[in-house]
């Protein structure tokens, strides 16, 4: 039994592999540029962030290739490996990726834990790893000089929200809900609390939950019975964003809801419905609310390619990650990983959908402006851009 299964599998694999290799080989005469994509496409929660990122990345590569490729007509070829929401799969995927002949860079992941499973292997292979969605600002310090972030660090967006909440909205006492099962959300809460209390604000209530929770009724009731709260900071990923707003508003709580880029998903509007989705403020990558330029181009292209609007900001981040790497390759004029890595580190003004990427000297987390969006009237309304101090 096992023999025929594995035998069949081997034969099938060999067959598919050969077609996969022969077809592009026959169609192209110039050597392709190899980029690896490591995303959690199946098996669990992160695929709702990673799949859009991967789509964004593929879209950008296709647009570059359709426009004639880079380095004199060479096409980008993506090797995508599903990391299956599993750190072991991620590590082996990274190992497979760095073994690809002529690999220029790796792109992927929306969660710091998984970025940390992959990036060290790229680091030791001397190949840059650009994360499209992991936002822990400590990642480059933990991994090394081959680790680059496309998004701003969580410290930046959390500080921005803290300042906006305290200074502009005049809020003083917040309740904080944190998804304890994600590094992203725990980090966001830490940075927000740090800046908000520094400014003189108070945290009146702290409550925690896990990503897979869908029933927030107990937390809502507790929030309702806590006095002296001006607002709720919901440190949440996209999967729980809409549900949280819906459940808070349905209970008749009208407090402003503050959040990070995990709220940058259509679910925040559609799950609670137009009547309830209001007074929600979140920070995000500067493309939401912008109707022109690269943001508009991206939206249209995404819609055309996948027949759906970008699911969340991670789609734009994947798109930008690919664009950033292509830009670095162009500037380096080479596909040598070391040269590309150097060019990446020297990025001073890459015009992405999610804002202009610039890496400060010696840092590999970009300084990007933070957009603040206010949800209301059935729309995401761009409020302002904040560049937090210090």
């Amino acid at each position: 039994m096992r023999n025929w299964i594995s035998g069949l599998a081997a034969v099938a694999a060999a067959g598919l592999l050969s077609t996969a290799f022969i077809l592009p080989g026959a169609a192209q005469d110039k050597e392709p540029i190899n980029v690896a994509a490591l995303y959690n496409l199946t098996s669990g929660g992160l695929s709702s962030l990673d799949a859009p990122s991967f789509n964004g990345m593929k879209l950008k590569a296709k647009m570059i290739n359709d426009a004639g490729g880079i380095l004199g007509g060479r096409k980008i070829e993506i090797t995508a490996i599903d990391t299956k929401n599993d750190t072991r799969e991620t590590a082996t995927a990274a190992q497979r990726a760095v073994a690809i002949k002529g690999l220029v860079a790796g792109i992927g992941q929306s969660d710091s834990t998984f970025a940390l499973a992959a990036a060290p292997l790229f680091q030791s292979a001397g190949i840059p790893f650009v994360t499209s969605g992991a936002t822990s600002p400590d990642l480059p310090d933990m991994v090394g000089d081959q680790m680059f972030l496309v998004p701003f660090g969580d410290d930046v967006q959390a500080h921005a929200m803290a300042e906006y909440a305290y200074n502009t909205l005049g809020l003083r006492n917040v309740a904080i809900w944190t998804d304890n099962a994600m590094d992203y959300t725990t980090g966001l809460t830490r940075y927000f609390t740090e800046r908000f209390t520094q400014l003189g604000g108070k945290v009146a209530l702290e409550d925690v939950y896990m990503t897979t929770d869908q029933d927030f009724s107990a937390l809502v009731s507790r929030l309702q019975s806590t006095t002296g709260v001006d607002a709720v900071f919901a440190s949440s990923g996209p999967d729980t964003a809409g549900i949280i707003v819906k459940q808070i508003r349905e209970a008749g709580i009208t407090l402003p809801i503050l959040a990070g880029d995990g709220f940058d998903t259509d679910l925040v509007l559609s799950v609670p419905g137009e009547a309830l989705a209001k007074d929600v403020y979140f920070t995000t990558h500067a493309y939401a609310g912008i109707e022109t330029g690269p943001a508009q181009e991206f939206r249209a292209a995404y819609q055309a390619e996948y027949n759906t609007a970008p699911e969340n900001a991670f789609a734009a981040l994947g798109y930008d990650a690919m664009g950033l790497v292509a830009d670095a390759i162009t500037r380096a004029g080479s596909t040598e990983p070391a040269a590309v890595s150097k060019a990446l580190a020297e990025t001073k003004a890459y015009e992405g959908v999610t804002g202009t990427v610039a890496f400060p000297e010696g840092k590999r987390v970009p300084n990007k402006p933070v957009a603040i969006i206010k949800v209301g009237g059935g729309k995401m309304n761009f409020e302002t851009t904040v560049t937090p101090k210090g």
């Binding site: 594995s6 598919l16 750190t87 304890n180 959300t185």
Partner: protein, 339 residues
């Protein structure tokens, strides 16, 4: 039963050949294939050790990932350089924080702590039977995971412990593998092993023959947990990362599949099933990547599992050891028994 010396002789030869092959592998394989080779080894350790609990004694435990998490975290915390410990893990007791343990000692400690947890949990929980035990041990995964997530001062919460020293290599993995196989083999063919099999076949009868059922059950649970803990440590230092979600229910499921497909109670069967499943999952990856159908490989493996269950319901080998291993099994062969 033959003399231990003769047993060791028969054991030493395959081990020697294995070591030579491994050495050849380290010289010729690329890092990716070497890593897969190590995961194959770790999966064999896990399947074979789970087989002590599930196969020999017939306890339907899904809890291996919980013990791997415990062992993995303990090992990781112990091997971590002292300076990083104090910086990253605030709530760690100072005795642990001040020292950096060698890998072998850390692995053993990881295994022991996992075994200790198994004893503490096992004494009450192993009174349950069948499916109830399966669900209780499944719950154990959730409980351990919850603690790993919610004790950031010791575990760094959801982020997990990253940047662990990459000390796991093929030699460590296959050394532990040999020790695991050796232990399982000796257990299976000792009076303890016969006691376990007796409990599996008929608990009441075993009890009436004076077998200390409760103690044997806890012992087999703890023994399985020990190797799971060690494997968790190896795993963590191979991936160089351990996070609360590293060892999931899905993994527990895959391990059970290995044990059942191999033939509940068959050491070689579990080992072979572990190798085949791990490799076939890897081999299927290029298919789904080429076709862009992510998830297809898991579907294919799952369908394969169902087919094997339909056509070979007692697994590939039953409780017996396959003939290839007859060189040192022939006279110890147990009668094939299907539950």
């Amino acid at each position: 039963m033959s003399a231990p010396a003769a047993f060791l002789l028969r054991f030493a030869l395959p081990v020697g050949i294995g070591a030579a092959l491994l050495y050849a592998a380290t010289l010729s394989l690329d890092p990716y294939s070497l890593t897969i080779l190590q995961f194959v080894g770790i999966n064999v350790i896990l399947a074979v050790s789970l087989n002590i609990t599930n196969g020999f004694t017939g306890l339907f435990s899904l809890g291996h990932p919980a013990f791997m998490t415990i062992g993995g975290y303990v090992t990781a915390i112990l091997t971590m350089p002292a300076t990083r410990k104090t910086a990253m893990l605030r709530d760690l007791p100072s005795i642990l924080a001040a020292h950096e343990w060698p890998f072998a000692a850390s692995l053993t400690a990881g295994g022991l702590v996992a075994a200790l947890a198994a004893v503490i949990v096992g004494i009450p929980v192993l009174r349950l039977r069948g499916h109830y035990l399966a669900v209780a041990t499944l719950g154990l995964i959730f409980i351990v995971q919850s603690f790993a997530v919610n004790l950031p001062g010791i575990t760094r919460g959801a982020l997990g412990l990253a940047g662990l020293p990459p000390v796991t290599n093929v030699w460590w993995v296959y050394l532990v593998l040999v020790l695991t196989l050796l232990t399982c083999w000796r257990v299976k063919h000792s009076s303890l092993g016969r006691t376990m099999l007796a409990i599996r076949e008929n608990e009441l009868a075993a009890a009436s023959l004076g077998v200390k059922v409760a103690r044997t059950r806890v012992l087999s649970f703890a023994l399985g947990a020990f190797f799971a803990g060690v494997a968790g440590g190896l795993w963590a230092h191979l991936v160089t990362l351990i996070a609360p979600g590293s060892f999931s229910i899905l993994l527990g499921f895959q391990l059970i599949v290995m044990v059942v497909l191999g033939g509940t109670g068959s050491i070689a069967g579990a080992a072979i099933a572990a190798v085949v499943l791990t490799l076939s999952t890897e081999w299927l990856r290029p298919i789904e990547e080429a076709a862009g159908l992510f998830g297809a490989s898991q579907i294919i493996v799952a369908v394969g599992v169902i087919l094997v269950l339909i056509f070979r319901p007692s697994g590939l080998f039953g409780t017996a050891e396959p003939n290839v291993f007859g060189a040192f099994a022939r006279r110890r062969r147990h009668a094939q028994s299907t539950p």
